[in-house]
């Protein structure tokens, strides 16, 4: 059974410097409170896999110097513009970028979920995304004739980290339609989840709840963190904080502004 805790830092202790960390896309339950805690702790040299894209989370971790390698299909603040710390890091060459395409990341995580060393994927042939990935292979499908297809090696993260609406007293976590969160947990060695609340029941006793539940035996620790996705949305529970996103986009446009942002919204909370 996972450890249930109110102490976020404790739950995050298995996320070590240099580990491979997988996180979900900007609308699937991004663990922003946990991200701020990791920045406060000063985690370093992460291999960050954003499944399949990211926004604020990757930008902040990169800006704060936590990331060595980034593997994703896109980083953007959406309607709030480009992701400034990501773009600067690429132009300045301060992170290693492994550009991917969305279904390739899903498939590579599913390979680990299924315990196979690789997954095939259509598309990609003729794109520079493939040309710059020497870890991806093109083979001739044994079921076709002259039918080249890409094989993607499995991605097996050390830790999966996400935010979800609720857990039950046995550490089962309700993820709803965000089923890529289950795949992340299946693929990773360990999974840490932050939740809005812990309910005093067992979701698996209720077939309707069970359908959207990730069983606790995949999970290392569950930390209660109210509004843990803020300022990003938690689907069906709260929307994105547009005013804050606009403020971030404005402040993070320069390194100095980004440092001010961290002082105001991240390090400030160390006392809390």
């Amino acid at each position: 059974m996972p450890k249930l805790t109110d102490t976020l830092d404790d739950a995050l202790s298995c996320i070590r410097d240099g580990c491979m960390l997988v996180v979900p896309r900007e609308v699937s339950g991004v663990p922003m409170a946990a991200t701020r805690a990791l920045i406060r702790r000063g985690v370093k040299m992460l291999h960050l896999v954003a499944l399949p894209t990211s926004s604020l989370q990757a930008d902040m971790l990169i800006g704060a110097g936590c990331v060595e390698t980034l593997e994703t299909s896109a980083v953007s603040l959406g309607e709030f513009g480009p992701a400034p710390r990501f773009s600067a890091a690429i132009v300045n060459g301060t992170i290693r970028m492994k550009d991917a395409t969305c279904p390739a990341l899903h498939a590579a995580l599913q390979a680990s979920e299924k315990g196979v060393p690789f997954m095939p994927l259509r598309g990609l042939i003729g794109s520079d995304v493939l040309n710059y990935r020497d870890d991806w292979k093109v083979v001739d499908s044994p079921f076709g004739s002259d039918d080249p297809i890409v094989l993607l090696p499995a991605i097996r993260p050390d830790v999966a980290l996400f935010h979800a609406p609720m857990a039950d007293r046995n550490g089962n976590v309700w993820i709803g339609r965000q089923r890529e969160l289950a795949t992340m947990a299946h693929a990773a060695d360990r999974t840490v989840v932050t939740v809005e609340t812990i309910e005093d029941r067992d979701f698996l006793d209720d077939p309707i709840m069970a359908a959207g539940t990730l069983p606790g035996f995949y999970i290392e620790a569950v930390a209660v963190t109210e509004r843990g996705a803020w300022p990003l949305p938690l689907p069906d529970f709260y929307p994105l904080d547009a005013a804050h996103m606009a403020e971030y986009a404005r402040m993070a446009a320069t390194p100095e502004g980004f440092a001010d942002y961290l002082d105001r919204y991240v390090h400030d909370k160390r006392a809390a």
């Binding site: 979900p24 480009p82 690429i90 132009v91 080249p148 289950a182």
Partner: protein, 255 residues
């Protein structure tokens, strides 16, 4: 942007949505990615033209217009099954072979400008039968002879599995169709108020020209009624600012 002298009773967004709805035609399932209000408008218009019955319109940003329940991978799986008929892509650069660049300008290892990334383009461009390229900015900066990075190619060698690809490129000046065999664009029509010279001057790639240049037809009265009625109402949930600005609907304006 449109320099027309005659009085007009439609907005640029309505013209573009009308064109794109025509390209969508009668389809089963149209999916629209994030931050794409005009394609979303077009997809909803195409559905209203069929009495609301089809196509299924998945607006990936929406909760209400999103029918997927198998996580973020379902759009791609669904497209791989051949169930997504129409999708929209764009590019920081688009070239005359239909290649799109969503990654960077300059050398990939040491770029001058970095864009967000390729998203699902390197897959969806191959498997969705009708991909409509949409880029309002029609300039030599965006429409280039050769993209700096091929996020997804417009065409492939014949042995490469490919059931989809670009069918057209819609800009703020004109519509190009795309010939997959020749891997070339053909000018299809020029929007009211724009000229062939202007298109020639602002396009960085070579393209085929018909003998007679046609003007993009203005939206019909029926189309405008659908756009400003049921379509505008449905847009409020996903694109409140756009719906308010273009159609004057929706109570609150918030992001």
């Amino acid at each position: 942007m449109f320099m027309t002298s005659a009085p007009r009773d439609f907005r640029d967004e309505e013209l573009l949505a009308d064109i794109i709805a025509g390209l969508i035609g009668d389809s089963r399932h149209v999916a629209v990615g994030n931050a794409s209000p005009i394609p979303a408008t077009a997809a909803l218009l195409a559905r209203e033209r069929n009495g609301g019955a089809r196509p299924y319109v998945s607006l990936l940003q929406s909760r209400k217009h999103n029918f997927f329940t198998d996580g973020a991978r379902e759009l791609f799986d669904c497209a791989g099954q051949g169930r997504i008929d129409v999708f929209f892509l764009s590019g920081g650069q688009i070239d005359g072979q239909g290649n799109i660049n969503l990654v960077s300008i300059g050398d990939y290892e040491h770029p001058r400008v970095r864009f967000p990334g390729s998203f699902g383009s390197a897959y969806l461009y191959y498997v969705v039968p009708k991909v409509i390229l949409f880029r309002t900015e029609h300039s030599k900066r965006t429409l280039v002879p050769k993209v700096d990075f091929v996020s997804a190619p417009g065409g492939n060698e014949p042995n490469v599995f490919r059931e989809g690809g670009p069918i057209a490129l819609v800009t703020n000046r004109c519509v190009f169709s795309f010939d997959r065999r020749k891997k070339r664009f053909t000018l299809q029509s020029i929007h009211p108020g724009h000229t062939l010279d202007e298109v020639n001057d602002n396009t960085g790639f070579d393209f085929d020209r018909p003998a007679q240049v046609v003007e993009t037809p203005a939206p019909s009265r029926e189309t405008l009624a659908l756009l400003r009625g049921p379509v505008a109402q449905q847009l409020v949930e996903v694109y409140p600012q756009f719906a308010a600005q273009v159609f004057g609907v929706g109570a609150r304006v918030s992001a």
